[in-house]
């Protein structure tokens, strides 16, 4: 019995939601916007659920993104929107702690509690760099610096 409970725990923990606060600084508007939500991996797909201020879900699949907002579902394929896949890839890589998938996009520099990703020419025009700050083994902060001076900060909340 205890064994089964342990298994269920382990199973659940694999799909444990990561609660976060996302702050987007938009340099063009000199304006900061915050959202709250959780994200988790479902097989190889990344699902981001925003709970505050509005209920929205972004799902990153292998070949497309779907956005569900106000009961409307939009799809964007990567063939037509190559830039769209990058954020998904990056987040997946960070969650899995496997940076092999973003090897083509970034130069990876690992220090004790911080990982720095510096953009390679292919995404120069989009992203500049990404900082990942860890606390012990879990992720504390992800800061994405865009080329157009925008900044996206994701802080985990537990």
């Amino acid at each position: 019995m205890r064994f089964i409970i342990l298994l269920i725990f382990l199973y659940l923990s694999m799909f444990a939601d990561m609660n976060f606060k996302e702050t987007r600084y938009m340099a063009a508007l000199d304006f900061e916007k915050s959202k709250y939500g959780n994200l988790h991996m479902d097989n190889e797909n990344l699902i981001i659920n925003y709970t505050k201020p509005i209920q929205e879900t972004i799902s990153y699949y292998n070949d497309k993104i779907t956005v569900l907002a106000k009961d409307k579902l939009d799809e964007y394929s990567f063939q037509e929107h190559p830039n769209a896949q990058y954020l998904g890839l990056i987040l997946k890589a960070i969650l899995n702690n496997n940076y092999a998938t973003v090897d083509e996009l970034f130069e990876i520099k690992k220090e004790k509690q911080e990982i720095q990703l510096k953009a390679k020419p292919i995404i120069y025009s989009y992203i500049e760099s990404i900082n990942i700050i860890k606390h012990k083994k879990s992720i504390k902060n992800i800061i994405i610096y865009m080329t157009n001076k925008d900044k996206i900060t994701i802080e985990t909340i537990n």
């Binding site: 063009a28 190889e44 292998n62 070949d63 769209a84 496997n98 998938t101 292919i122 120069y124 157009n148």
Partner: protein, 679 residues
């Protein structure tokens, strides 16, 4: 094998990267498979002669694309009135505030005047190339030198790394060179060993004279070495196939020995043997004629044969009588009576009919690749990669231009003719395009756009100075494109300067090939086509010189044999007809034809020997043993997987079998007693 212009273009096509491409694919599309590929990639790229082929991440090329972004892509607008700055900025503002998804403003082009809908042709998954449904793919370039030693070294190093991993497929055309070369060398070693063994046993069994056997061995080895020295002096890159053939030809030079020995020229010092001399001279002359054919392999073999036969003849005719060789009775079957006899004229009629009919039915094989070892494993692997990369049916074509700009324009013409073609240089900007686009940019009146943005942006809600650098002069007016060879190579493109022409390549679809080749600035880069053209020229020479040889042989035969000409002539007609008959079923390649002429040159010897007034038992024996040794010497080539060697072998087998048939079953014009022996 290629001459003149064809050779020049072949050498140029060998310099392009598509020849040195090295592909590695890992089975499976899961993350763990990608991890495995990355590991392999790191190990391979640690090798100084393997470079990761990463066009996407070529910094200079990306910077170039960014610098000329306004010129390389389609624009969403043509005139200024189509742009409503205020309206656009409002829409963008709304999007940024309310969109779920992150909206990225491009500071250089905030109004999205440039159409960035690029349909990616490259299949990526998780940011990495994939090979169809198979798995992840990595593309490398092998930068080692093109000599055999360097190729073998890099092949071994790659094998060392890849053998540690399972479910990995790797391919490069360099593998063909190395594996085929290895296979040929091991085949050649095997053949030479078997040949020497078989012939050695044969001579021992037949002659039963150990002292003679040792002398023969020394003579044959000497003749081979001598021939080799001379040939490698004239041809630094002697083909290994020439070596194999040349070893086999010693089984022909042994004939001179057989005739002298069996007629007691060694123990009785009977002086000069005319028949052998005539046979020798005709064979040498035939090979001299054949050596005039402009095909290196044939030249090498002919020259080798001439030298080798000369050395052997001199030994066997002039030196051996003084060696004190005793005559020992060779093996022979007493009172052999043939089960049936065929009349001479029937054979001649049969041969002539076959030859005439063959003119309609015989097939020829001009594909030089078919002469090589058919490395099935690599060919399947190559097909696998090509089909998954959709490169399956594309054909390489060279594009030329007097300047780099002309080359780019020409590349664009090719791309326009064939949309599915891969034309690397077509993605650059030509000067003509620059000027054309400049006019459009002027029509768009960016000065007004900038003022509009300045006026509207704060009204709409944007930060005051945010757009101050948008549509700046550097972005609108990049420098007039003037490319140098280094620049183009820096972008990762292939470019070669030959004389005064710049040359690059393109991969085009087969149905558009002819149309594209009709353009004045294109040339076929397909080695197969280049070789075929060259081979067709050689075939004509082959027929000319072969015909001359034939004429020579027939005339000499007529002079020597006089009344018994027809019987002797059957020794040429019959084997020839058999070889042509073989050509009805198997396309004859250049080696078949060459060997065919060699058989005729050898066959004449037998025609002359058969002409001797007193056809003794010993002469017959000598001929039979000669034939058997030639059969063994060349026949052993049929065990080879290398088509050129196999072709030589099978032709020899057919030819010799034909001669043997004539010898045993053809009715002699003069009645001889097989029992009569001269002691």
């Amino acid at each position: 094998m290629l001459t003149g212009e064809d050779k020049k273009f072949y050498n140029i096509s060998e310099k392009f990267s598509y020849v040195k491409t090295f592909l590695v694919a890992v089975e499976g599309l899961e993350t763990k498979d990608l991890k495995k590929l990355k590991k392999i990639k790191d190990e391979l790229s640690a090798n100084s002669e393997i470079e990761v082929n990463n066009q996407l991440n070529n910094k200079k090329y990306q910077e170039f694309k960014e610098q000329y972004k306004l010129y390389l892509n389609d624009l969403n607008y043509e005139t200024n009135n189509q742009i409503d700055v205020k309206e656009q900025l409002s829409t963008i503002h709304k999007e940024m505030i309310s969109s779920t998804f992150y909206y990225n403003i491009n500071l250089n082009d905030p109004l999205n005047i440039i159409n960035t809908d690029i349909k990616s042709q490259i299949k990526l998954k998780n940011g990495n190339l994939i090979l169809g449904d198979f798995g992840y793919l990595s593309v490398f370039s092998i930068t080692s030198k093109t000599d055999e030693k360097s190729r073998i070294k890099i092949y071994n190093e790659i094998e060392e790394i890849l053998k540690k991993y399972e479910k990995v497929k790797a391919f490069s055309t360099i593998f063909f060179y190395v594996e085929n070369s290895r296979k040929i060398q091991s085949d050649v070693r095997l053949i030479i060993m078997s040949s020497m063994l078989i012939l050695g046993i044969l001579y021992l069994l037949i002659l039963r004279n150990l002292y003679l056997f040792f002398n023969i061995a020394i003579t044959l080895v000497t003749s081979v070495i001598f021939g080799q020295i001379v040939v490698t002096h004239f041809f630094p890159q002697t083909s290994i196939i020439a070596l194999v053939f040349s070893t086999a030809i010693t089984s022909v030079s042994i004939d001179y020995m057989f005739h002298h020995y069996l007629h007691n020229y060694y123990n009785k010092r009977l002086g000069f043997n005319k028949s052998v001399f005539y046979g020798f001279v005709t064979t040498i002359t035939a090979f001299l004629l054949i050596s005039l054919i402009n095909f290196p392999l044939i030249e090498q073999i002919s020259i080798f044969t001439i030298i080798s036969l000369c050395v052997a003849y001199v030994h066997f005719s002039f030196i051996y009588p003084y060696l004190g060789i005793k005559h020992k009775e060779p093996y022979s079957k007493e009172n052999y009576k043939s089960p049936f006899i065929v009349k001479g004229h029937k054979i001649i009629v049969f041969s002539v009919i076959i030859i005439i009919v063959s003119l309609f039915y015989v097939n020829f094989d001009f594909n030089i690749k078919n002469l090589d070892y058919q490395n099935k494993h690599l060919l399947t692997l190559q097909k696998f990669f090509k089909s998954n990369l959709n490169q399956n049916k594309k054909i390489a074509v060279l594009i030329t231009g007097t300047t780099i700009d002309t080359l780019i324009t020409n590349s664009k013409i090719v791309k326009k003719l064939d949309e599915k073609a891969t034309v690397p240089l077509a993605s650059l900007l030509s000067q003509k395009e620059y000027i054309k686009r400049l006019q459009v940019i002027q029509q768009l009146n960016f000065a007004k756009v900038k003022t509009d943005i300045k006026d509207s942006s704060t009204l709409v809600g944007f930060k005051d100075t945010y757009f101050k650098n948008s549509y700046n002069d550097t972005f609108l007016y990049p420098p007039y494109p003037q490319y140098t060879q280094d620049m183009i190579k820096g972008y990762g493109f292939d470019l070669v300067l030959d004389n005064k022409n710049f040359i690059t390549y393109a991969m085009v679809t087969p149905d558009k090939l002819q149309e594209i080749l009709n353009l004045s600035f294109t040339k076929s880069a397909q080695s197969k086509v280049l070789f075929e053209n060259s081979l067709k020229k050689v075939y004509n020479e082959l027929l000319l010189f072969g015909g001359l040889t034939l004429l020579l042989i027939i005339s000499i035969l007529a002079i020597v044999t006089k009344r018994r000409f027809l019987q002797a002539f059957s020794y040429i007609l019959f084997p020839a007809s058999l070889v042509l008959l073989y050509g009805w079923f198997v396309p004859l390649n250049i080696m078949h034809i060459f060997m065919g002429f060699v058989i005729l040159a050898i066959g004449i010897d037998y025609g002359i020997y058969m002409n001797e007034p007193t056809l003794s038992h010993n002469t017959t024996l000598a001929i039979i043993y000669s034939l058997i040794s030639t059969f063994a010497g060349f026949g052993v080539l049929i065990i080879s997987d290398i088509n050129s060697l196999f072709s030589i072998g099978i032709t020899a087998v057919i030819g010799v079998a034909g001669i043997l048939f004539l010898l045993v079953f053809q009715k002699r014009i003069k009645k001889e007693h097989n029992k009569k022996r001269i002691n």
